[in-house]
């Protein structure tokens, strides 16, 4: 079985968001990490590899430094890494990104493509389903469990108040939730492999069946009109009461002031 996992390098918003003195986001001060949902997708692929035997390829699109997440993936147990990077691909929205990644995937044999549900920088959850659409294969989003049954995948697909057990014939694409599993750590041997591993680098010319008009900033149907760091509601009051009773009295007082009680 051949599995491709699409991963993204993102700024770490979870391990403490850093702000500049003026209240804007300090992106430079934040760590670049493998997107958490993607990492769960990679772990799911590695578990299938452990159980059934599979070749796991990781693919990312980004700046040259995005190769770091490919090496991390190889250190966890992935077999190969492909970096899609080219100046003309910059500024892509989800349409142009999914077009690009689909163009790269057309060069590869795959039975199963796994992406994270969404990345913590954009939070769109669009690129996975759009890749499947460009490739003409079934998509199952929001996977909270993933198994293989012969030439089919069996997935628990999460909804708000229920889940569906869905079966799709491979080749297909599954988007992974972080809840799917707890990703393994890199192994010392894996790190050694990762340092030695050669990362395949593809540019615009390597994308198959893709038109220039659908790539990068120019090929993006959505355009940013305005972007700003969010002005948050300021802090209100905070008290450190001498006793729980004082804390309760404080809240009751405020509620009376506001005519809540």
């Amino acid at each position: 079985m051949k599995i491709v996992v699409c991963i993204k390098q993102v700024p770490d918003t979870k391990g403490g968001v850093k702000f500049n003195p003026d209240g804007t986001l300090d992106r430079g001060a934040m760590l670049a990490i493998m997107n958490p949902d993607d990492k769960a997708g990679l772990e799911a692929a590695l578990r299938l590899k452990d159980e059934y035997g599979a070749e796991v390829t990781v693919l990312t699109m980004g700046l040259p430094k995005a190769a770091d997440v490919l090496r991390e993936a190889i250190a966890m147990g992935a077999d190969k890494g492909i970096l899609v990077t080219d100046r003309v691909l910059g500024g892509a929205d989800t349409w142009a990104t999914s077009t690009t990644i689909a163009g790269a995937l057309r060069n590869i044999d795959y039975d199963l493509i796994i992406t994270g549900r969404q990345a913590i920088d954009g939070d769109t959850a669009q690129v996975g389903p759009q890749i499947a659409e460009h490739l003409g294969i079934p998509v199952i989003s929001y996977a909270q469990d993933l198994k293989i049954d012969g030439d089919k995948v069996v997935v628990q697909r999460q909804y708000d108040d229920r889940y569906h057990v869905l079966e799709a014939k491979m080749p297909c694409l599954v988007t992974a939730l972080s809840e799917l599993n707890v990703p393994r750590y890199m192994t010392p041997g894996g790190i050694f492999d990762a340092c030695a591993a050669e990362i395949t680098t593809w540019g615009r010319a390597d994308l198959k069946d893709v038109e220039d008009c659908n790539l990068g900033l120019k090929g993006s149907p959505t355009k940013i009109a305005k972007a700003s760091d969010k002005v948050r509601k300021g802090a209100g009051e905070k008290i450190v009461p001498d006793s729980p009773e004082d804390g309760v009295a404080y809240i009751i007082g405020k509620f009376k002031e506001k005519h809540i009680i």
């Binding site: 918003t13 979870k14 986001l25 929205d93 989800t94 349409w95 913590i120 920088d121 939070d123 769109t124 959850a125 389903p129 759009q130 659409e133 460009h134 003409g136 294969i137 079934p138 199952i140 989003s141 708000d160 108040d161 229920r162 569906h164 057990v165 869905l166 079966e167 799709a168 014939k169 809840e179 149907p221 959505t222 355009k223 940013i224 009109a225 305005k226 972007a227 700003s228 760091d229 969010k230 948050r232 509601k233 802090a235 209100g236 009051e237 905070k238 008290i239 450190v240 009461p241 729980p244 804390g247 309760v248 009295a249 404080y250 809240i251 009751i252 009376k256 506001k258 809540i260 009680i261």
Partner: protein, 347 residues
Amino acid sequence: MNLEEYKGVYVFAQQVDNEISGIALELLGKGKELAAKLETETVAVLIGYNVKGLADTLAEYGADKVIVVDDPELEVYRTEPYAHALSSVINEYKPEIVLVGATAIGRDLGPTVSARVATGLTADCTVLEIGDFPLNPIPGQEQKHNQLLMTRPAFGGNTIATIACPDNRPQMATVRPGVMQKIAPIAGAKANIIEYNPGFTPNNKYVTIKEVVKAVSDTIDIMDAKVLVSGGRGVGSAENFKILEDLAEVLGGTVSCSRAVVDNGWKPKDLQVGQTGKTVRPQIYFAIGISGAIQHVAGMEESDIIVAINKDETAPIFDVADYGVVGDLNKIVPQLTEALKAAKAEK
């Protein structure tokens, strides 16, 4: 693409188990407002099996027209037949705007359809307006009028961006539930109902539903609650949520929670507030034992009054709380419940 051909504000009227989802009515409220500015009509696209009876409700909440796609293949949501239904409607009727709820269904359907009809899609919008793009004239660049300007949070709610889709139609957005306002229903309103079936032939993209497992929950939807008593990791155990439930009861509210609580299995997913849960804006929001990760704050910061109780003085929740109390929730919460009971009895 002749952009002028595309007319009307279309809303995907999500239904589950033949019940209209709240988001569909919220989108109709917003859609009606946008349609008025554009001097066009508001159209609900109702997709399912035996769902025609729901059309009157959509009319009462603002739909001028309801396009019904009814087929046995559409009985339970699956990506492919639903994407085929919605993209066929778009190709046939050429709407200028298509709004979809940013639900677990809409966040799958929206991207698939936008890729199929080759247009842009802006995810998880919180503000939709009609305006110019670019916002201000730029020499040498045409400024287009009557564009849909879609505002959304990104970076886990740390930044906001306003996005347009000036050269492709339809302009598509998914919209976060709980943000837009429904209109007061107009009793007896009728819409023009159009039945449309593009034909459904199963292909490789049709997946099989082996099982539907519903979470058992008798609680009310936290998005409708006026008072939410929300607990986090600091509550310590599933059992200890009892003290939060008691507080909620005395205020006529309900209990919700942070992601950590769901991850620990203390509460079901449908009670989760935040970026990967629900966006809520009750009149009073209690954040109890919740540290206030940005992903949580993004889902509750629009609440009218936020009360935080946490033993950690440096918890970021205090940065958004109107009233913060540093202390032991196990002591404060039960006493607060008793004090509120007493205050009620006085009245």
